[in-house]
Amino acid sequence: MSHFNAPKYPTKSVKKKDIPKGLYVKCPISGEIIFNKELEANLMVVPKSGYHFPIGARERIEALIDPGTWHEIASEVVSGDPLKFVDSQTYPDRIARYEKESGLSEAVVTGYGKIHGIPCSVAVMDFRFCGGTLGSATGERITRAIEYALEKRIPCIIFSTSGGARMQEGILSLMQMAKTSAALGRLAEARLPYISVLTNPTTGGVSASYATLGDVILAEPGALIGFAGQRVIKETTKQTLPPGFQSSEFLLQHGLIDQIVSRLDMREKLRDLLLALFVRKLPAGSRN
């Protein structure tokens, strides 16, 4: 089995400073210097080390979906301020800042399109917007994407990346876990495939709802995936965390996910899975 020979990709936590901005960037694994243009052309995967930098939602969609088939839905859904939450700044100011920085209006982009001609409803989260946290608008967009799949009787694919629930929306954030899971319950009853792809990092409330409910769960290499934060686990248990704890590779070893898939192979993997679970026959010329 090929994944046992796969290179080890140590997990690195995503910090804002790690998201490349300048002309070139240093690989956190190999230390090699790589031009940003080259990195972007390679879907933010460092060619030699295979390290996966975070990728923007729109860039991922562009790499994934057949050209000219993408239609965004639910983009009108944006955050409210139910709690009138203020910490170092007001919640609306915080949202406005993320919007400006990321060019996105929420932590997820939702829509539908085709992958190798197979129609699917897709939600792609983006860590740059409020750490990919799950707010009411995020949950609403994802739920609409699931309901769109249900309505059109097509598969659903969700790419997760999240620091967890969005604290600034309090309990309403927690309830998005219930809302999205309820929609996935309907999708499951309709026997429509749901593929969940976990990317670095997928933690907290998102991991404890739609991210782990896939008929198939894939993960990008070296992603941090878990329910509780490592600092909290260390403080609570007073134990040393095992090497690679909460990495994609750790999850695969423990039988918690189906495969680790490089971003560069994702489109082909998804095609095969959609062909098997949705189309249920292999079209001529599709053998690999």
């Binding site: 309830m175 876990m177 878990g226 918690l256």
Partner: protein, 324 residues
């Protein structure tokens, strides 16, 4: 007045008045002098102060009452409310989580399945029950019991009382995220009436893991939050001592939960909190459970599922921006 075994910070004025009252009574009996006027006036003052303190509780004060060491836990309520509880153990796969228990019982003679977080009452029991913080096995046992309930047409009644799912290495290795997520999904599909009650602490995903039900009730001093006030404070203000501020910002009190449609009914507590009269608290809750179960029992299975979906589908506050 009986001296409370534990005094919360905001109850200190009451303690002081109680002391003064006792001193007066003592002086009166020791010295054989009539201080009845002073005593009556002091008693009135104490009652007024009590009313004042307990009628204006802020979010942090309610959190403190919810965590009161003498507050009754699930097993205490189960014993008061239900008949013939038979605990059913284990997830049939790995182990038996004593932080999340369940079993068959009867409510007013009707068979039900009860599922509950249990923190334990003494130190030894608290340790055995991991202070009410479940691991994946707990959630998988809960799901097993819910499916048994569905098979035999028993309504499911859940008592939520946890700081959260246990953050441990083994928990992660056995996929606590998945255990909770599957419960969220499956609870929306259960073909029997379901009710949950937040009896004290509703800690995040660990609470929600048995809380996706047709009706959600909450005691008036319980709280339900996406993160603990301490956790929120250490993230936002780098100081867990800012918990009272975080509790206010998170608006985690049961009143706000009702406004957001997360809680359907607030169950009133005896004056000063359920610990002051557990039997009375249980009686009030019993009446509420009976009423909600009767209402849900009138619905057909499809209608029940439609309403449940609509209930969770509607949760959230967002805006819809005009498209340019």
């Amino acid at each position: 007045m009986e001296k409370p075994a534990y005094t919360l910070e905001f109850e200190k004025p009451l303690l002081e008045l109680t002391r003064q009252l006792e001193a007066l009574q003592h002086r009166s009996s020791e010295n054989q002098i009539d201080l009845s006027k002073e005593i009556t006036s002091m008693q009135a003052k104490l009652e007024a102060t009590k009313r004042d303190v307990y009628s204006n509780l802020g979010p942090w004060q309610r959190v403190q009452i919810a965590r009161h060491p003498k507050r009754p836990g699930s097993l205490a309520f189960i014993a008061e409310i239900f008949e013939n509880f038979q605990e059913l153990h284990g997830d049939r796969q790995f182990g038996d989580d004593q932080a999340l228990i369940g079993g068959t019982a009867f409510l007013d003679g009707r068979a039900v399945m009860v599922i509950a977080h249990e923190k334990g009452s003494d130190t030894k029991e608290k340790i055995a029950r991991n202070f009410g913080m479940p691991q994946p096995e707990g959630y998988r046992k809960a799901l097993r019991l819910m499916r048994t309930a569905e098979k035999f047409g028993l309504p499911v009644i859940c008592f939520v009382d946890t700081k959260g799912a246990y953050p441990g290495i083994n928990s992660e290795e056995r996929h606590v995220s998945e255990a909770i997520a599957v419960n969220l999904r499956e609870m929306t599909l259960l073909r029997v009436p379901t009710i949950s009650v937040i009896i004290s602490e509703g800690g995040s995903g660990g609470a929600l893991g048995i809380g996706v039900t047709d009706r959600v009730l909450s005691f008036e001093n319980s709280y339900y939050s996406v993160i603990s006030p301490e956790g929120c404070a250490s993230i936002l203000w780098k100081d867990a001592a800012e918990a009272p501020r975080a509790a206010a910002a998170l608006k985690l009190d049961a009143g706000t939960l009702q406004e957001f449609g997360i809680v359907d009914e607030l169950v009133p507590e005896p004056f000063g909190g359920a610990h002051n009269d557990p039997a009375e608290a249980a009686k009030t809750l019993h009446t509420a459970l009976t009423r909600h179960l009767a209402e849900l029992s009138k619905l057909g299975k499809e209608e029940l599922l439609e309403k449940r979906y609509a209930r969770y589908r509607a949760l959230g506050v967002y805006a819809e921006r005009a498209q340019g």
